[in-house]
């Protein structure tokens, strides 16, 4: 599924009566990869949470396919189009990798067991399908969460620090997957402290300079 353009208009964010950023405006077209950069506490995660619809914006608007994602029919469309993977990976320690993924995908669209096994193979967790996730390392748990990128057909990805605790080859595979998603008409917004300059067509929003 191809993404529609995302229009961010004069977005501002306030936390605890402190202004994190204001006047963030930009337009994302299908095929864009946007890296949100900035020092710690500059509001990267807040911006992503506002985009995902978890946090109310202090002012401004975000439009997807020319409809506001903060209310009305635009919000319903947006809920089915964007995939948000936050800082906390939403992986339950008591459940196996397969059970975790089957539930997380069912929240939007149930997927078959075979597809889950394939996705786990793609993120390098073949053989760990039925191991409870609290027996996995931090990097492996993060990989379980990221396996959703191979399973769910959302055109817009919002990823908060997706590369945390992932080893170098894993990061390279993920970068390739992100690029492939963008090339097929998707939009990716991510924060990371990894250097992504070698990615072709990468756009960067530095919140340290906006504030």
């Amino acid at each position: 599924m191809k993404a529609q353009p995302i229009d961010i208009r004069q977005l501002a964010c306030e936390r605890d009566q402190r202004e994190l950023f204001e006047g963030v405006s930009l337009r994302l077209e299908p095929g864009d990869v946007l890296q949100v950069a900035g020092p710690n506490g500059s509001g990267k995660t807040s911006l992503l949470r506002i985009l995902a619809g978890l946090l109310p914006a202090a002012s401004g608007d975000v439009l997807y396919a020319d409809a506001s994602v903060f209310g009305g029919p635009g919000r319903d469309t947006w809920r089915q189009r964007r995939l948000y993977i936050g800082h906390a990976p939403a992986v339950k320690g008591a459940l196996t990798a397969e059970e975790n993924l089957s539930w997380l995908c069912a929240l939007s669209q149930p997927v078959s067991r075979e597809l889950i096994w394939q996705a786990l193979q793609m993120v390098g967790l073949r053989g760990f399908e039925d191991v409870p996730c609290d027996h996995l390392s931090a990097g492996q748990q993060r990989r379980v969460a990221l396996a959703r990128l191979y399973l769910e057909a959302h055109p817009v990805w919002i990823l908060d620090e997706p590369f945390t605790a992932i080893d170098r080859t894993g990061v390279a595979t993920l970068e390739a997957h992100v690029l492939a998603h963008a090339a097929s008409g998707g939009i990716v917004v991510l924060t990371t402290h990894h250097s992504l300059e070698h990615l072709p067509g990468l756009r960067c929003l530095d919140l340290g300079q906006v504030a």
């Binding site: 995902a52 946090l55 809920r79 948000y84 906390a88 939403a90 539930w103 069912a106 929240l107």
Partner: protein, 223 residues
């Protein structure tokens, strides 16, 4: 819609059975409180019989409250709750399933055990069905109302005391009706009125509490 309900139910079921300690805590608490009372106040049947309705109901109420504090906390901390809020499925339906599952593994066990504890406190055997019936109608109300408090305090590091302060005033009508019914039954009076009021509260909380829980969780997640 039915599929998501079923999948959520199986998920909760697995989570509960892989951490059986959390299931047993409220039951053990219930059993300890009730078995300590005869030791403390003496084994005289007349006195125990007068106290039994109140003791059993207060123990059930506190056991429920104790188990509800952590109802949403682990889902909040590992980010699962964010995914629930972001899902296109109605959040109120999902929390209703979660709370009802919690009641099935915790509240229903209290209901099933209550006749045994009633006998321990020398309640006459004709009162035991009434005790179980009032608990059957009352414990879902306790779970649903408590879940509203648990949702509102989900983002707080130690919300336990605050949860109790928020929710105990709302528990008082259930407590009065429940103990009133059992006391009436001990004296041989009709209990239909009490039971109907309890059923009324159960229907009311079943229909309104999920909306309040969902709203509370949305606030908690957006902190």
């Amino acid at each position: 819609m039915l599929q998501i309900v079923w999948l959520l139910f199986t998920r909760e079921w697995r989570l509960a059975w892989r951490r059986p300690g959390q299931l047993l805590n409220p039951l053990v608490f219930f059993a300890i409180v009730i078995s300590l009372f005869p030791l403390a106040v003496g084994p005289e049947p007349g006195m125990l019989r007068t106290m039994a309705p109140g003791v059993i109901w207060v123990a059930a109420l506190l056991a429920t409250l104790l188990s509800l504090d952590g109802l949403f906390r682990s889902d909040y901390e590992d980010g699962s709750l964010e995914q629930w809020v972001l899902s296109p499925h109605p959040l109120a339906l999902m929390v209703l399933v979660k709370v009802l599952h919690h009641w099935l593994v915790c509240g229903l066990a209290l209901v099933l055990l209550s006749p045994l504890f009633g006998l321990m406190l020398s309640l006459p055997s004709r009162v035991l069905p009434v005790l179980a019936l009032t608990l059957l109608l009352g414990t879902p109300v306790l779970s649903l109302l408590g879940a509203v408090g648990a949702a509102l305090t989900v983002g707080l590091k130690s919300g336990g005391v605050l949860l109790a302060l928020l929710i105990l005033p709302l528990y008082i009508p259930v407590l009065i009706l429940g103990t009133g019914a059992v006391e009436a039954s001990v004296q041989g009076l009709p209990v239909t009125g009490y039971a109907l009021w309890l059923a009324c509260l159960a229907v009311l909380s079943l229909s309104l509490a999920p909306v309040a829980i969902a709203a509370g969780l949305r606030i908690g997640v957006s902190e």
